[in-house]
C-alpha cells in the first residue's frame, strides 16, 4: 500500500491515486442505504454529499505527510476519510438557506436542494460523530494514545475555536470592510485549522517529535492561506462550469476577500509567496517531501 519504495509519481497522478483510494475508504465507512425507510434517505444524502466529488486535497495531505514517516496508507487513508467527512459536512451546512444559501456544490444540486433542508441538516449532523468513530476505532491505529490524540486535535480544529468559529466570523463579516489581518484570521479558522490537522496528523501517526510537528504545522499554515487566496481568485475570475460551483458570489454579497483587498495580481503574488514559504518549511524532511512542496504550487497554478 505504501509509495515510499516506488518511483515518485507526478503530483496529479498522486492526487488521483489518493482520491481513488479515499473514495473506496469512504464508500466502506458510510452507512449503506439498503431498505426503503427514512434512514435510507439519510444515508443516501450522506453519500451524495461525500462521494464522487472534490479534489480530496485534505486526505492527500494526511496520506502524504504520513508517508514521510513510513506510515502505511491503509492507516492514513482512514484518518483522511475522517477529515473528508468533516469537510463534507461543513459544505452541507454552509450551503443551507440560512447560511450561504448556495444551490450548487461540486457541479451538482446542493444537498438541501436535492434532499430537502431537514435531511441536509441531519446528514451533516450524522457525519461528524462518524468521523470521530473512525478515528477512535482500533483499525485506525493500534495505539489508543495516538487515536485519542487524533480525536482531540480534529475536535479542536472543527470546533468553536476552529472551523465553526471561522464560519461564524465569515457570516458576520458580510458587507463589512475587514482588514487583511482579519481576513487572514477568518480563513485560518474556517479552512486553515482543518488543513493544519491534516498535515500534523501524518506526524502524529508517525509519532514524530514536537519539532517535526511544528514544521508540519507551519507548512500547513502557509499552504492553507495560499489555498484560500487561490479559492478567492477562482471565485473572482473563474467560470462556474469549470469551478463546479457558483462564482462571483463573494463580490455580489460584499464579502471581504484577499482579492478584494489586494486586487487580482496582488493576491496572486501573495499566494505564490506563501507557496514558496510553505515549501521551505518542508526542508527538514528532504527530497521525500517533494510532492508536498508541489501541492502549494498546484493550488496557485490552477488559478492562472
Amino acid at each position: 500500500m505504501t509509495q515510499q519504495d516506488s518511483e515518485p509519481l507526478e503530483l496529479s497522478e498522486a492526487l488521483a491515486q489518493v482520491a481513488g483510494e479515499v473514495e473506496r475508504t469512504l464508500t466502506a465507512i458510510l452507512p449503506q442505504p439498503d431498505g426503503e425507510g427514512p434512514e435510507a434517505t439519510l444515508f443516501e444524502a450522506m453519500r451524495y454529499a461525500t462521494l464522487g466529488g472534490g479534489k480530496r486535497l485534505r486526505p492527500f495531505l494526511v496520506v502524504s505527510t504520513a508517508r514521510l514517516f513510513e506510515v502505511p496508507d491503509n492507516v492514513s487513508l482512514r484518518v483522511g476519510a475522517a477529515v473528508e467527512l468533516v469537510h463534507a459536512y461543513s459544505l452541507i451546512h454552509d450551503d443551507l438557506p440560512c447560511m450561504d444559501d448556495d444551490p450548487i456544490r461540486r457541479g451538482k444540486p446542493s444537498c438541501h436542494v436535492k434532499f430537502g433542508e431537514s435531511t441536509a441538516v441531519l446528514a451533516g449532523d450524522a457525519m461528524v460523530p462518524l468521523a470521530f468513530e473512525v478515528l477512535a476505532d482500533a483499525r485506525t491505529h493500534p495505539d489508543a494514545a495516538v487515536r485519542a490524540e487524533l480525536v482531540a486535535r480534529l475536535a479542536k480544529a472543527a470546533g468553536p475555536q476552529g472551523m465553526v468559529g471561522g464560519q461564524m466570523i465569515d457570516l458576520a463579516a458580510e458587507g463589512l470592510a475587514l482588514e487583511i489581518g482579519e481576513v487572514a484570521r477568518l480563513e485560518r479558522l474556517k479552512t486553515g485549522a482543518l488543513i493544519e490537522f491534516c498535515c500534523v496528523a501524518g506526524g502524529v501517526l508517525g509519532r514524530v517529535d514536537a519539532r517535526a510537528l511544528r514544521a508540519l504545522g507551519a507548512y500547513a499554515h502557509d499552504l492553507g492561506l495560499a489555498f484560500q487566496i487561490a479559492d478567492d481568485l477562482l471565485d473572482a475570475v473563474g467560470e462556474a462550469d469549470h469551478v463546479g460551483k457558483a462564482v462571483g458570489k463573494d463580490a455580489a454579497r460584499g464579502k471581504a476577500t484577499f482579492v478584494g483587498i489586494l486586487g487580482t495580481e496582488g493576491a496572486r503574488d501573495q499566494a505564490q509567496l506563501l507557496a514558496r514559504q510553505a515549501a521551505a518549511h518542508l526542508e527538514p524532511f528532504g527530497p521525500r517531501a517533494r510532492l508536498l512542496s508541489e501541492v502549494a504550487d498546484y493550488a496557485v497554478a490552477r488559478t492562472a
Copy 2:
C-alpha cells in the same frame, strides 16, 4: 468529590447535587464570550442553550453508574458534561424551523429565536466536536484506551445509526400510523442510544467486565423507554407552564406516540412496568444501585 462514603442522599437531592456540579463543569468547558466579535455571539448562543436548564438526567446517569464502581465524580462529571453538550446540540437543531419548528425550550425562547437561525445551526455544530474534545482529553481519564472507547461509544450513539437516525425517522413519521414496535425503535435510536451511552460509560470508566456492561445496557434500555413514554404523557396531558416547552404538539402534527397507540392509562401502565424491569437489571450491583432504581420510578411519577 465522591459520594460513596457518605449517607445516601435522597434522589431529588442527588439529582440537584449532580445538576449543580455539571453546571459548573459545563461553565468551565464552554468557551468564554469575551470581546465583541462574532465568535462572542457564537459562544453566548452555546452557553444559552446549554447552561441554566434541564434536569441533567444524562450526567446523573453517568455519575451514578460510575459511583457503583468507585470512579471519582471529577472524572464522571466530565463525561456527563460531554453527553450534555451532545444532548443540548440535538435540542437546538431539533427546534430549528426546518425541523420541529419549536419556539420554546426549557421555558425560554429557543436558540434560533433568540440568536437567529444561522447562529443556532453553528452553535449546535460547535458543541459536538467540543464534546469529543472533552472525552479525548487526558484530564478525563489517564488511560487513553478508556478515552478512545468513550469516544467510539458516544460517536455511535450520536451518529447516523443512533440519535440522528432516530430524528430522521421521527421527522419522516409525522402523520404516519406507526405500530408500537416502530415507535419503540424510533425512540430507542432518538433518545435511547444516548441514555444507554450514559449508563455504560460509568462501567467503561470503572473498567468492568462485559457482563456488567450488558446489565447496565439493559437497565438503560428499559429506563430510556420508560422515560420516553413519560415524555409523551407530559406532552399529551401536561401544561406548557409546568413542562417548560410547548405541549400538545405531538397530537397536533399527527405524530405517532406511545400515548396515541396505548392510550393515557395504557402508556402509564407500560411505563411503570418498564421502570420495574429497569430496576431488576440493577440487582447484581446490590444496594448501592438504589438511587439508580429510583430514577425510573421518578421518571414515571412526574407524569402522574
